[in-house]
């Protein structure tokens, strides 16, 4: 075997395995365990299905839900949050527009909070939705999608209890692969 081939093989071996294969194996195992732990408890990877958060999120997009976002603070207006059902495997992704104790209503597509029209600069799709006054209790938030150009009957939205909010959507948008 020529010297150059031996050198290339040696370099490849070092790149792939490292100078000590035992250390490499230990590092790989530790990193894998860490990544698994983080992705199952703190930053939950999500894949978007549905049109209710267009244009920000569309079917096939990827993102994360940061479960620590509300560990030391409360959800805020306009936060995009993951809302769990029976567990975290399938979640709704909606935007908070009403906070506990407030009243929310919709007239001609415009959201009114406590009787005042809400400015929503993120809103691009809008139609003439109508919704009667919704009163939020001390542990309820009002959540809704951004795609309000669709029929109100096909859009899932409303009051959700605080304990169902898993965390805040993070890394706003990873393009679908």
């Amino acid at each position: 075997m020529s010297t150059s081939v031996r050198r290339i093989k040696g370099c490849l071996k070092k790149v792939c395995i490292g100078s000590n294969w035992r250390h490499t194996v230990v590092r790989a195992v530790v990193l894998s365990a860490l990544a698994y732990g983080v992705c199952t408890t703190i930053f939950l990877p999500v894949r978007i299905q549905g049109d209710s958060m267009l244009p920000l999120y569309e079917t096939g997009d990827y993102g994360f839900i940061n479960t620590l976002a509300y560990r030391w603070s409360n959800p805020r207006r306009f936060d995009i949050v993951g809302i769990r059902m029976a567990g975290n495997s399938v979640m709704y992704l909606k935007r908070i527009i009403g906070l506990p104790g407030e009243t929310v209503e919709i007239h001609d597509g415009t959201v009114h909070v406590n009787g005042k029209a809400l400015s929503e600069p993120h809103l691009q799709f809008k139609s003439d939705w109508e919704l009667g006054k919704q009163s939020l209790s001390g542990d309820q938030y009002f959540v809704i999608g951004d795609n309000r150009g669709m029929s109100i009957h096909y859009h899932t939205f409303g009051k959700v209890k605080r304990h169902r909010i898993v965390g805040r959507a993070w890394l706003l948008k990873i393009p679908s692969l």
Binding site: M85, A86, G87, S89, K133, F157, G158
Partner: protein, 169 residues
């Protein structure tokens, strides 16, 4: 005789752990049986792709074994409660007639079962995926609360209630 080879020791430990895991997992608890029942139901519904009313009816009749005779299904307050297994199967036949490519899956299954009773409660999310006319996938997910009873050796659904995650007054 002293075993000096650490690889042999490590292999023996791994072997014991693997065998032990297989033995443990082979002993199915009632909770596991209930979960498997839901998986079986989902698989059965998802394979209902028969064309023709007769074939579909025969296939749907097989759903009887998953429900009690007096099963009730409550979707929400606006839709009348479905009462009785025959009515439920009739609704299933109509639904699958219009959406033959439906696939159903249960996730996040949480089972509460008392060993002394033949009853159990299940909280789960059902995910239903369909194919629309323009070949686009439609997906819907709902949270369910179910009460099951064990009859004739099999777990069957007695009540099914859809849970409202987001409410409107």
């Amino acid at each position: 005789m002293a075993v000096k080879n650490p690889v042999t020791i490590a292999a023996a430990i791994v072997g014991i752990v693997v065998v032990g895991w297989f033995v443990y997992s082979s002993q199915q608890s009632e909770e596991d049986r209930i979960r498997q029942r839901l998986y079986d139901l989902a698989e059965y519904v998802s394979t209902t792709k028969q064309t023709g009313d007769s074939a579909r009816l025969i296939h749907i009749a097989g759903l009887r074994k998953f429900f009690t005779e007096g099963v009730t299904v409550q979707v929400n307050e606006d839709i009348p409660k479905i009462t009785g297994r025959d009515n439920l199967l009739q609704m299933a036949h109509i639904a699958l007639q219009h959406e033959p490519g439906l696939t159903v899956a249960f996730t996040d299954i949480s089972v509460t079962h008392n060993d002394n009773t033949q009853q159990a409660r299940v909280n789960t999310t059902v995910v239903v995926t369909g194919v629309q006319s323009d070949k686009a996938r439609s997906i819907d997910a709902q949270e369910l609360e179910m009460a099951l009873v064990k009859a004739e050796g099999e777990w069957r659904m007695e009540t099914v209630q859809f849970v409202k995650v987001m409410e409107l007054q």
